[in-house]
Symmetry: C2
DNA sequence: ACAATTTACTGATAATTATCATATTTTAAA
DNA sequence: TTTAAAATATGATAATTATCAGTAAATTGT
């Protein structure tokens, strides 16, 4: 496993690619590598972050606790994504928790390295800005989806999203296996409702399951459902 | 009315304050001032923007059309806010429409001025980044609110939001008067449902109305409702 | 000032979604 | 391996919210 940022392929997927060689060296010297086990937090809502986390492996859910005690998952972050940027940039405590959905391997980069580069390298700043602009656009889409689509449509969308972003295994199941509760927290519905819809989709031949694993059977019909047919 | 950016107070509220004198002069020379009448669009979903709009006066709703034909209002932008930034930065067409809720006065700043400064002035880029980080955080809050709160709670929240962000007039009505439909599009519900809840709040003495104007009567109870009591 | 149009409102009802209760299966721990 | 705990599943029911139909009020243009 390569341990120098200069040679890390992961970098190509995030804003760190806009750093200069020297900047990367500094980052690499200051970074630490951590493993986080499934279910453990990288950080929690309200924490003040002393740096960002670059995901090398595994998946993390970014979620926010609501007043009624339910979590809402706002994003699923995987290989190449940088977590905690927003908090470091705005120098506020995070509004989200990051919890490992898989076993993860992450690099922790102290905020000093980031802030330094932000102030000196406009290319890097611009790259971060582009990423954040993209995230914001996605967030707008999520808002519209949640408020204008039915739970059934959002469930269908969630499965397609999981397929497109995390792929399938050899047996045709979604590579990322979420608990029913996590699924309901992505979709923004009660766990029982999510389970019920999974059963319904199964009966209709849209998906198949095996334990908690879910596979997509009829992508077209799922897509039609999202579109509202 | 001052027409040079260098002397414009509005600037203090947005990222333009991080521009240098020379940069501001260039912006000022290239900008054009427009008035937009109530109901008219600044730009529409899918447009490619050739610049950003700095709001001098009035309020604009930023909304996105959903598949079922309803608009979702994602943000209400007022004096000092810069619209279209995201689109210009990511060089994509906008995902949102901006429509005047009031008569507006805006300055249009061609994207060249912005892009130039973004590449040369890290302070400016960082400032824009901070703003975007803030917007993203707010978007997360909206997501959690919509998915975890009831329509009634979101209505209560919307009224408090309008009071806190746009204030009240001499008679105790919210300064920003939205149509019932716009309110429902902010909250993410059917117009009839919004109207029904307004009637209910009125009966309970939480608000009072006069025509389409709405005033807050019992802020505390509204707050309690938002919190879930 | 008046007709035309849009917006606001109300009731009845249907559809969607959440909640509670409980059974079953799976997973983890002793 | 057995037991306990957690996750999944399903039914019954209640609560919430949307939709449709229709009336009243307000706004706009002439």
């Amino acid at each position: 496993m390569e341990s120098r940022c200069e040679n890390c392929i992961i970098r190509q997927f995030n804003s760190l690619r806009a750093m200069s060689k020297e900047e990367l060296k500094k980052v690499s010297d200051s970074k630490t590598t951590k493993t986080v086990k499934k279910g453990e937090p990288l950080f929690e809502e309200g924490d003040k972050l002393n740096g960002v986390y670059c995901v090398r492996n595994g998946v993390s859910k970014l979620s926010k606790l609501s007043a009624n005690g339910k979590d809402q998952i706002v994003k699923l972050a995987t290989k190449g994504e940088v977590l905690g940027q927003r908090s470091v940039i705005s120098q506020e405590s995070t509004n989200l928790s990051a919890i490992a959905v898989d076993d993860m391997e992450v690099c922790f980069i102290p905020k000093e390295s980031i802030n330094n580069t932000l102030q000196k390298n406009p290319n890097f700043t611009l790259e971060v800005l582009r990423h954040m602009a993209h995230d914001l656009k996605e967030a707008d889409d999520v808002i519209v989806n949640i408020s204008q689509k039915t739970v059934k449509q959002r469930m269908a969308e969630a499965f397609l999203y999981l397929k497109n972003n995390f792929g399938e295994d050899e047996d045709g199941f979604l590579s990322l296996t979420l608990s029913r509760e996590d699924i309901s927290n992505v979709v923004g519905t009660a766990t029982e409702s999510a389970i019920r819809i999974i059963s319904e989709f199964k009966k209709k031949g849209l998906i198949h399951t095996s334990g908690k694993k879910i596979g997509i059977k009829d992508e077209r019909k799922l897509l039609e459902m999202v579109e509202g047919f």
